[in-house]
Each structure stands twice: as C-alpha cells, then as structure tokens.
Point group: C2
Chain length 327, copies 2
C-alpha cells in the first residue's frame, strides 16, 4: 500500500477541489492509502472510505506565510501533512499552498537526505519537441556551491530516469556560453564536477535560448538563475500569447483568421500551460514532496497526487540516496 | 560635426550592406563625418564623398575571435575603428562583428570612464505596452559587485533619460522576489544602494515574469542573470512563434485562419524582432560603442549608426560621467 498525506486546506480554491480529487484518486488506485489533513467538517465526503484517514487540523497556513509564521502553525493542515511524512506514517506529501510556505514547512519539519546540503525546487517545462525538460533549482536557494549543483544534477538524473523513463538522461548546466570556462567560478567548477561524474550523462553548458527546445532532459542551475529563467519563460509565453491574440484582433482578416484558428491556438495554450504538468517537486528530502499549483482545480490536484504516487511507487527517494552515495 | 568610425568588414553579410548604410546615412545627416575602416577596394563607392574618410584595414576579426586573437589583430577593420575612437578622432564606433570580439576590442583598445570598474552590455527589449525596456548587463561580466550594479543603474538611467526622453526613468533590479531581502548578498546590497541613491528613481525588485510588460524603463542585473534572462526571452519568443505557426497549420480551420491572420502575425513578428531595435550598446567606455547585429542588413546597420549618432549628439557619455561622479 502506498501512503500519501494530502493537505486539503491551503489552496486558493478551498478544500472542495481536494475532496473531489481524493475521491477520484482513491477510486482509480487500489494500492493507495490517503491521510487527508484539514477541517474535518469540510472533509465529510471522504470519511466513509476505508483507505482514507481524516486528520483534523484547525489551522491554515496563509499564502504569504514567512518562516516565523510557518513555525507557529503546528496545528495547520500543511504542517500536519508534512509531519505525517516525517514520522514515517506516509511516504509522500501533496499540498497546493504557496511554494514559499510549503517549502518552508518541508525545511522545518522534514528530514533532508543525509549528505545533501541543500534541498531544491524542480520544475517541469513543456518544450518545442514535446519531450519536456526538468529544471532545478528554480528558486529555493539564492546561491549554490558547485557541490550542491552536482547533487541537483544527480537528483534530476534519477528523476528523469525513473519517472520519465529516459535511460540515459542528457544533463546540461545552464550557463552564459558553451565553453567549459564560461560563467563564474561556481559554474566553471560545476562543469568540471559534472564532467568527471561517471553516472551522469553530462552534455555540457546550455544557454537560455535553448531551454525550451527539449534537446536535453535535465537542466541544472543555481536557484537564482533558475528562478530568473523559469519566470522569464512564463512571462514571455504569457506576453506572446496575449500579443498574438491582440494582433489578430486588430484587423478584420485577423479576426476572421482567429475564428478559424481558435481551436489550434487553444490546444497550443494547453500545451504550454504549466498547470497541466501537475506540480513542482521539492527534492533532497527523505520523502516525496509535491506542490500542486495554488490555483489548482481538481484535475490539476489529481495530477500532482499522481506525481507523488509515482515518486513513491518507483521509490525515487531511495534511488536518489543511492545515486548521491555513489557519486 | 559628429564623427563616427564604422567597421565595414566584420559582419556576416560582408561590406556591401555597410557601404549601402553609410551612403544613405551621410545623405540623411548633414552634420556627420564617417571614418570607414576596411579593405579600400571594397569601399570604393564611398571614396568620393567629402565627409567620408576611408581607413584601409587589411585584416578582419573573425566572429569567434578570443582575447588573444583580437590582441593580435591590430590591422583589422574592427580594432582600427576602435582605435580611432580611443585617439579622439571620432566620438562613436559601430561594428557588426560578434559581440564577444567587439566587446574584447573595446576592453583592450578603448579607455573606460574613470571610476567605472566594469563596462557592460546594454540591450533594448520590446515590451507588451510597446514602450520597450533597457536591460543591463546582459552578459559582459560573469559576476558583479553591488557597486558595479549601481554604476550600471546610473548609466541606464542616463541613457533612458537622454536617448529615450523619459524624464524620471523607472529603474528596477532583476531579482527572485519583490522584498528588499530577496536574493544573494550582492543583490540585497544593490537594493540598498539603489534605494539610497538620490538621482535614480528606484522602484524595487522585478521578477523574470514581468520583464516584458514594460512597466519599468531600466532593469539592472548582473551579467550572468542578465544573459540568462535575455536569451531565455529570445528563445521563448522564437519557440512560441514557431508553435503558433505549426499549431495553426495542423488543422484545416487553422490553415484557413492562418491565411487570414498572416499580416497580423507578421506585424507582431516585426514588433518582437530584436534586430529592428538597431543594436546593443556597450557602456562604461569613454566613447559611444554600438554593436549592430551580426546578420544585420543595411537597414539594421543604419539603425545602429543612428543610435551611435544620437549617443554622440546628446553627449550621453559626458552625462554618464557626471552622473557617476555625483552618486
């Protein structure tokens, strides 16, 4: 039986979408046990299922909670869900609270893998060739050492291999040029470490303009640059789509064109919708930690649960541990 | 008389587009004198104009030239053009060689403004609201100190005020969150310095997703993050436009739509075309230094010349000097 804890309260849209997702998920997965944290009166629909446990939690961590606030919220649905993972009652935890608050909860209340100096945030981006690419760290850390970046590379490699089924994932380092000597000292050292590593299929540096091509499977970056890259992608995509729409609406032939092209453009929008990917992963912890988007609907939350389920089923954390030991 | 030196040889498309641009430029500007460096037999069409001087240069700096190679190319059209600026014979220099080689030439053969520790690369990006935004440094430096970032902010401010005519340009710092304490130490210190500065209208941190909105006029960043941000924008824009096209071409109604929407989409492409902006600026030097794009056609090269001309005419370098002295 694979066990997950589910924070039902921290999303923008309240507990109802989580209840809906849990009901569907438990029906689809006969080998899953759920521990759902939240106000029990809001979770009544789930109480009668034998593989669902309700853990009453009266408090909610607000979206903008800082570290001090999270520390005080021990009775919250989020911290209780994380604590269930730390106590070994479940193997994975899912929340749609804010990234900052959820990451802080994990930092405070969940053990890191031994030897890993820094945990980090991993995002899955859609790519031009539809293969997708994993980018980490996308912002958990404001700076990183070369050793930390190497740990991220190993965790990204294990994820791509086990969850995405890529035998020899191509791992690249985000940098400002292709040569080994590009970038600051940290990035030059990281290049060296990754090239020497026997497990990782390191293919060299990658520049910002090639992130979305999908020619590599894993992109390693410090949390500062990774955050800039991820958010710049999101921003550029959103501005471009708006501009496409407005540019077509500004002429009659464009308007007629838009009418005909509508469904094609919508399918593109879906494809490039970060929400459809399920969620961001927090890696480096002893348990699988998946953040669903704050504005998740029940389908997106279900996808985030599926990701946590796969992580647990494929025992990805154990394999990350082993990879980190070998390297 | 405003004097510019023009490197005629270093672009992908050879000297002919430069000759064409110079002919048109000299006709349109009665107050300009051009010193064109290159193989004199390729520049014959320009020889008979009284305000054009031909400086014979037998060598060409290749696109991929490193620092050692540039150092040896004293007889090249590029180094000769830069040297004319350093010797005070001209006040601005334009080239369409590679960014790396041209920047290296300026570093080696052109004086920096006194007190400026680092020169840098400034790019002009199109924005959603069509106002455009200036981003610097976009990759001349692999790392920067807070003091250097403050210098960039001042130079960006002076540029936006004088060349773009914005009375109180809004200056923001590229960072991974909006709060003053976000980012690594360098970015926290920079936040502090910019907030204390009396000349600069500092509006706080800006995140990657807001770069293309156009709500600020100048974005200051270290060369590493700036390079990632610029190239990620370019990459995302190019991938998105390709996907829009293909997504429309994949269905019959999409195809019909594309036919009608064609001109709207082309006008968008133009608007988002980095080439149409003219060129990147190298700032922190005693003279105006403008890089036209490597694949410039004569119109793009003309635009780069226009930018150098405006820089000289508005005496931007002197104003940068004064701004840097006051701060």
């Amino acid at each position: 039986m694979y066990k997950l804890s589910i924070d039902a309260m921290s999303g923008d849209l309240g507990s109802s979408i989580v209840v809906e997702a849990c009901s569907a998920f438990i029906k689809d997965h006969a080998d899953v046990e759920l521990h759902v944290t939240g106000k029990k009166e809001e979770l009544e629909k789930l109480t009668h299922h034998e593989r669902i446990q309700i853990v009453d939690a009266r408090d909610v961590v607000p979206m903008d909670a800082g570290i001090m606030s999270v520390r005080r919220k021990k009775e919250s649905s989020m911290v209780k869900a994380v604590t269930l993972a730390n106590d070994g009652i479940v193997d994975g935890v899912v929340s749609c609270g804010s990234t900052g608050a959820f990451y802080t909860s994990a930092m405070l209340f969940l053990k890191r893998i031994e030897g890993v100096e820094k945990s980090c945030l991993m995002a899955m981006l859609p790519t031009y060739n539809k293969k997708g690419v994993v980018l980490l760290d996308v912002g958990a850390n404001a700076e990183n050492t070369a050793e930390q970046l190497k740990d991220f590379a190993i965790m990204g490699h294990v994820y791509a291999k086990n969850i995405r089924g890529i035998q020899k994932p191509k791992v690249a380092l985000l940098n400002i040029g292709s040569e080994a000597k590009k970038g600051d000292e940290v990035h030059q050292q990281t290049y060296q470490l990754l090239e020497e590593d026997k497990m990782i299929n390191f293919v060299g540096n990658i520049e910002g303009r090639d992130i979305l091509l999908g020619e590599v499977d894993v992109i390693v970056t410090d949390g500062f640059s990774g955050n800039i890259a991820l958010k710049t992608c999101e921003g550029a995509a959103s501005v471009l789509m708006k501009m496409v729409k407005e540019s077509m609406m500004s002429s009659l032939s464009g308007k007629i064109g838009a009418l005909f092209a509508k469904s094609s453009l919508y399918s593109l929008k879906d494809q490039f919708d970060y929400k459809s990917v399920g969620g961001a992963l927090m890696v480096g912890f002893e348990k699988a930690v998946v953040k669903a988007h704050g504005a998740s609907d029940s389908k997106a939350f279900y996808n985030a649960m599926e990701l946590a389920y796969q992580m647990v089923k494929m025992d990805v954390v154990t394999q990350m541990k082993e990879g980190l030991k070998v390297s």
